[in-house]
Amino acid sequence: MKKISLILTLLLIFTGYNLNAGELTGAGATFPYPFYSKVFYEFYRQTGIRVNYQAIGSGGGIRQLRAKTVDFGASDAFLSNEELKKFESPVVHIPTCAGAVVLTYNLPGNPQIKLTPEVIAGIFLGKITKWNDTRIKKINPDVNLPPMKIVVVHRSDGSGTTFIFSDYLTKISKEWAKKVGRGKSLNWPTGIGAKGNPGVAGLIRQIPGSIGYVELIYAIQNHMPAALIQNKHGNFIKPSIKSVTMASNVPLPDDMRVSLTNTDAPDGYPISGFTWLLVYRDLSTNIKTKEKAQSLVKLLWFTIHEGQKYATPLHYAPLSPSAKLKAEKLIRSLTFKGVKILK
């Protein structure tokens, strides 16, 4: 009897996964995970379709989509043309929300400071090494800047946050573009690395005179100081959900593989970016039944419409009207065995 029940339990453990045929599986980015788990839960409550999302990191999500072991992937950085070529059939990027990277610091009394693109590049290239450098003083005339050494803290783990930040630096500084470039992991010219937002924030709290970058959500939740950053129009912008949504209210390309950094929007925060769900354009590539493909399309539609209202309470920036329109068009373009799913 014992043996039988043991075998049954084992069978259940190994096969339980497949019992639920109406289940969608996805894997990828960790940054939007709190948003996705809320949206997917609400989707389940309304439709009865369960979504199993594993936040294993964008890299893993992309690999799993390529191996066709998941129904959809998720990434904080859009795939390059070279990366897209490795998929056996075209992949579509559906933006779901936007996030931002803020510069946070540890100075006596934590005054509100302003930073220009030149100064940010100078600090992270290791060229500006003291807080009372004239270049920082000039843009912060009212702040009493101490003669402290600047300690740069960056992410040590590969992350979409690093990608967005380095994408910004690549756009605003030729020297950065040449020496460092953009990527999820970089060869940093200066400073120390820490794992995850909590790691970076922890070191910044401990090291007087330090500066580093964390996700907007993390800075808001932990009441960390955040620098105002000068955008393309010369305005100093405070990082907030509103200024991040504004950043994406610009003309966008049809495939939505777009970087929002150094935005043209006059009120937009310059270091922000979309996060995407990745699906095959023809869903029959990795999904067997038409019903399941329809469930996935329903989920995507839900995420960019009803799902958007869960973004702000969780400190994610909802899609701007123009971004939502483009995303709708992309969802409408999805097919199953060559036939469009949404009319």
Partner: protein, 294 residues
């Protein structure tokens, strides 16, 4: 009775053989997969992978020398810091207080340390060792990173003490009582007995314990990542931030989207595998050579 016993004997034998071969197979398979995964970067970089000093995922340049140096320096340094402590701890509870409350408490505590998950050590290091090193750095006029090679080595040394000390404890206990008593009977002091009889007799076991601790320090990942500063540059002093092979893999693996980046990370894993194997081999050689009385 007899046939039954021989049946269970055969079964037992099969189980043992099966277990041993299965284990060997797993080691071979993991080596094979590491090798296969690193082929791409092996072909592209060749020997430059080991001698290269630039690790730059953005431009696909991968050389692991900074991490190799970081790994060797932190493990050797942590070993040097830990040896006096683990030796005295082992001798204390293996020779001086072999039983009784004190040795029981000390043994339990040291075993407990061995069982603490390394992420907890990492947190403790961040909250306790980092501020201490920072104060030191401020005193010396250095940049107060707090994290770096020295911080990681100190943390590692504490983590590995239980591994070597418990082994040392067991081997010094094996020193025959007759030898020790013979030592005392010649008028030797306790110190002399330990120095001239206990340590030489248990030398090979002591070295084995130290090698075990070295292996642990070499491959430790989580705690080191949290306090080493994770810089891809070759460390210039013990206060500068660095990185180890294991922590680079842990840091970059999940988000490595490019094939060559992934392959380079797997190749680091391959080298970790090979180095650990070599160190174990060296350890065994030393043990064989130093076995005092056979």
């Amino acid at each position: 009775m007899k046939p039954e016993r021989s049946f269970s004997d055969t079964l037992f034998k099969i189980l043992l053989w099966g277990g041993a071969i299965f284990f060997l197979a797993i080691v071979m398979i993991s080596f094979f997969f590491l090798f296969k995964g690193s082929l791409l970067s092996l072909k592209k970089f060749g020997i430059h992978f080991i001698t290269g000093t630039i690790w730059d995922p953005a431009t696909d340049k991968f050389g692991m020398l900074p991490f190799l140096i970081g790994t060797l320096v932190t493990s050797v340094l942590s070993l040097l810091i830990s040896i006096p402590f683990s030796l005295s701890l082992g001798i204390f509870s293996g020779v001086f207080y072999t039983n009784g409350k004190i040795s029981e408490i000390i043994n339990t505590l040291s075993d407990l340390i061995a069982g603490i998950p390394s992420v907890i050590f990492g947190f403790w290091g961040l909250l306790f060792i980092v501020p201490l090193i920072q104060k030191m750095e401020i005193k010396f006029g250095l940049i107060p990173y707090g994290t770096g090679i020295l911080t990681a080595s100190i943390l590692l040394s504490i983590m590995i003490i239980p591994y070597s000390s418990s082994m040392i404890r067991e081997v010094v206990r094996l020193v025959p009582v007759e030898l020790i008593e013979a030592g005392y009977s010649t008028g030797a002091t306790r110190y002399e007995v330990i120095k001239k009889i206990v340590i030489p007799y248990a030398r090979s076991g002591i070295i084995a314990g130290i090698m075990l601790a070295f292996g642990r320090a070499f491959g430790e990942t989580m705690a080191v990542t949290m306090v080493i500063g994770n810089s891809n540059q070759i460390p210039t002093s013990i206060f500068s931030p660095g990185n180890t092979m294991a922590s680079v893999i842990a840091n970059e693996f999940t988000e490595a989207t490019k094939d060559i980046h992934l392959s380079a990370l797997i190749q680091i894993g391959l080298w970790l595998f090979i180095f650990t194997f070599i160190f174990n081999l060296i350890g065994q050689l030393i043990i064989e050579k130093t076995s005092a009385w056979k």
